[in-house]
């Protein structure tokens, strides 16, 4: 991934912050807008956030959804939106030379979305019937309710959050340096969002998820969030790799190989507005008397940390390097609900956009890796113990 980065230029004089990742050998251009969610949302607003993301693909004031999909799919990748509890990412992929087309659509989708009543109902119905896996449900942790939403709720949330200061745009691929900023400046200079959108109606937050469908249960340990650039994060970050990344991680060795409890277990650095939230997950078939497994998992991992040796340290560092420099199927670095970050241009753009959003835009992978290289075994064990000690223990029982 580091090699892919030919030029990353953050440009601040645009109404919307624009990052360029020029990649001359790319076959197309990826344009992503990252929009940050409000720090606090009511249950209804949290649902509206989910709906709003889908609505962006369902047409604007001037474009039908067919127009957006057909013209926006010319590179073979349709427009998409990734909605997380704390942010959303709208993506357009256009052929070489398509910056103008991308700018035109992006501007329309962000600043003049249709937000039609009938589409809201359609999206609510879709979202309500979709089921996330137990793994993702545990990471998201929210039980969305789809029965009380009106157009005004979505409109108000859009006016409140879709504002230049709350958005960054990342453009990656084949174009002349500066061309993406110029295009986005040209498009977004005319944007005049509502100067007084009014406050959100935060009362009580959304309900936490209490169960998951599909006959499987999720058991998790959830640590405190950390930003990638925060002090002391290197040892804690490395401890995530030691505990939950790879087939010789503590989680796989202990939970799968030794105890035979699970097939699916591992660590995820779940992206939130406050940074990564390390989460250690195990998913297994639902059974009676299963509540004990979360605590058992925490205790077993804590005991395993005591047995760590220099090999544990070497392995964790090697896994961290693999995750940041190459492809690691087990990587804990997620940028959305669909799995670990890969090496595609799209993932690369999403990574830079996320770092920018959490205030770590200047951070480079090599800096993180160097910091982790300096961690010794005692620091690793201390960080792992601290991470486990401070973790919330959770369990989402499965339902048929």
């Amino acid at each position: 991934m580091i090699a892919l980065l030919v030029a990353a230029v953050a440009m601040q004089d645009s109404p919307v912050r624009v990052l360029e990742l020029v990649e001359p050998s790319a076959p197309y251009i990826v344009v992503q807008a990252n929009i940050k969610a409000p720090a606090q949302m009511s249950a209804r607003e949290a649902t509206a956030w989910q709906v709003l993301g889908r609505l962006l693909l369902l047409g604007t004031v001037e474009y039908t959804p067919f127009t957006i999909r057909d013209y926006g799919s010319q590179a073979g990748i349709p427009p998409s939106v990734t909605v997380m509890p704390d942010f959303m990412r709208l993506e357009l992929v256009v052929p070489k030379g398509g910056l103008s087309l991308a700018g035109q659509f992006l501007y329309a989708m962000l600043t003049r979305p249709g937000l039609r009543e009938e589409d809201i109902e359609k999206v609510m119905s879709q979202l309500e019937s979709e089921e996330q896996s137990a793994w993702v449900s545990a990471l998201v942790g929210i039980d969305y309710t789809y029965d009380k939403l009106r157009q005004g709720d979505v409109q108000r949330l859009w006016e409140h959050t879709f504002r230049p200061a709350n958005i960054n745009i990342v453009v990656g691929g084949v174009f002349d340096p500066g061309a993406a900023k110029k295009e986005m400046d040209y498009r977004f200079s005319a944007w005049k969002p509502n100067p007084d959108p009014g406050p959100l109606r935060f009362d009580t937050g959304p309900s936490p998820r209490l169960s998951v469908p599909g006959g499987v249960s999720a058991f998790y340990l959830q640590a405190k969030s950390m930003t990638p650039a925060s002090q002391l994060s290197a040892a804690r970050l490395l401890s995530v790799f030691a505990l939950g990344v790879g087939r010789d991680s503590s989680m796989t060795r202990v939970l799968r190989n030794k105890l035979g409890l699970s097939y699916l277990q591992g660590a995820v650095l779940w992206p939130t507005r406050d940074g990564w939230r390390p989460t250690f997950l195990m998913v297994r078939k639902t059974e009676n008397g299963e509540a004990k497994y979360s605590t058992q998992m925490k205790e077993a991992l804590g005991e395993d940390v005591k047995t760590w040796t220099d090999e544990t340290l070497v392995r964790a560092k090697a896994m961290a390097r693999a995750a940041f420099e190459r492809t690691l199927p087990d990587s804990p670095i997620w940028l959305g609900p669909n799995g670990p970050m890969g090496r595609s241009l799209s993932d690369h753009c999403a990574w830079r956009g996320y770092l920018e959003m959490v205030g770590s835009g200047s951070l480079r992978e090599e800096t993180m890796l160097s910091a982790m290289d300096n961690v010794d075994l005692d620091q690793l064990k201390e960080a792992a113990t601290q991470t486990l000690d401070e973790s919330n223990v959770g369990w989402l029982p499965g339902r048929p």
Partner: protein, 387 residues
């Protein structure tokens, strides 16, 4: 070494736009494909062991899957540890047509990885207790299968008969496997002529081919891989995927290389693009199989006919573009490319991804329309649906 021994059949060493490729068949029958790509920062080493699509016998379903789990540990049980200490990662999967093992790592570790992959080929020495514990892990694996995997499996049941081709297997059958039986299965399957080794990445083609030839050239066995053509069962109109909320539609296709298969894949991409959360599902194979569209909701599949009739004409552009994009992405991805070559080369030595792409560009509107019509209720297999 005999004269015949050094007469390795070099099929081709071809420079392409960004890469140098080499195809070799070792004297013992192991197929080798190496592609050097300086754009990459590491390599992906892939071993495909073809099982030829032969269904496992009643009462023995899941033996291939169990074998995959056991050999991936390595003879000493610490293969992953040794690899991960060096920045590499081993993964393994059992498919309908074979078992695949993959090691990813930094370029300077390729020799170690090739030798490690050879360790995977050694017969597993296990106890009955270890088999039972692994059967428990496979039961957990079965429980956490994705919705797409479950719906796809249900479609295959509809198309080819219940349980015939599901690679996960039956846990009760797996629990009954003895240590002696797993040795027999190993001997039956791990024949050199059934193996294809692929390396893609920032490697030297000649050096990589040489180390693979040294390490894999010594594997003995003269069993011929057989590909059992799949025969669709008499169609039932609809099926259900128990415990799964989604739905799906599947269409029979022949080999990946055929143009009508590619047209069906394009149609599946186009249909999936019309419904949020829908996915096109297909594993490239020289054998027959299904191309499926898997939906999030049980009722979504009911809209398929209407979409084809009302929107069919405008879907051609997106379907064809998405197919080409998928092939181009595979061409740029170490993993996807290695998987395609691994799966295809055992039976089609001259397989070239570039040829597939050329065929894909030739799909006409009428090819696409014909492929799209195969997804109509009357021509397809289905699970879910409100009717």
């Amino acid at each position: 070494m005999s004269v015949l021994g050094i007469l390795v059949a070099v099929l081709a060493t071809v420079p392409t736009q960004d890469a140098i490729q080499r195809k070799v068949t070792l004297p013992n029958g192991v197929g080798v494909f190496v592609e050097e790509s300086k754009k990459e920062t590491g390599f992906l080493l892939h071993l495909f062991v073809a099982t030829g699509g032969a269904p496992e016998a009643e009462g023995q379903r899941g033996e291939h899957h169990l074998l995959e789990h056991l050999v991936a540990r390595g003879p000493d049980g610490d293969l992953s540890k040794q690899l991960e200490l060096r920045g590499m990662y081993l993964s393994a999967d059992t498919l309908r047509d074979g078992i695949r093992f993959e090691i990813e790592g930094p370029s300077d570790q390729l020799d170690y990885a090739v030798h490690a992959m050879r360790e995977v080929m050694k017969p597993p020495v296990v106890t009955a207790d270890e088999i039972k514990r692994e059967a428990g892990v496979i039961a957990q694996e079965d429980a956490v299968r994705s919705r797409a995997s479950r719906i796809s499996a249900a479609l295959w049941d509809q198309g080819f008969g219940a349980g015939v081709s599901d690679p996960v297997g039956v846990v009760a059958d797996i629990e009954k496997v003895t240590p002696e039986r797993i040795q027999e299965v190993h001997k039956e399957l791990f024949q050199p002529k059934a193996m294809t080794v692929v390396v893609v990445g920032n490697v030297d083609v000649i050096k990589a081919s040489t180390v693979i030839a040294e390490v894999f050239g010594s594997i003995e066995g003269d069993g011929e891989p057989a590909m059992v053509p799949r025969k669709p069962v008499e169609q039932t109109k609809e099926g259900f995927a128990p415990g799964v909320a989604g739905s799906g539609v599947g269409v029979y296709v022949g080999s990946f290389g055929k143009q009508d298969t590619l047209a069906v894949i394009a149609a599946a991409f186009a249909l999936a693009g019309e419904t949020p959360g829908a996915q096109a599902v297909y594993t490239p194979t020289p054998n027959g199989g299904l191309v499926s569209v898997v939906y999030q909701r049980r009722k979504d599949v009911d809209d398929t006919d209407n979409t084809i009739k009302m929107q069919g004409a405008r879907l051609y552009g997106n379907g064809r573009a998405t197919l080409l994009q998928w092939l181009d992405t595979a061409d740029r991805s170490e993993r996807e490319k290695a998987r395609m070559y691994g799966q295809m080369m055992t039976f089609e030595k001259y397989f070239r991804l570039q040829d597939i792409r050329e065929r894909a560009t030739e799909i006409t509107r009428s090819d696409f329309a014909a492929a799209l019509n195969k997804f109509l209720t009357a021509n397809s297999v289905r699970v879910g649906g409100a009717r």
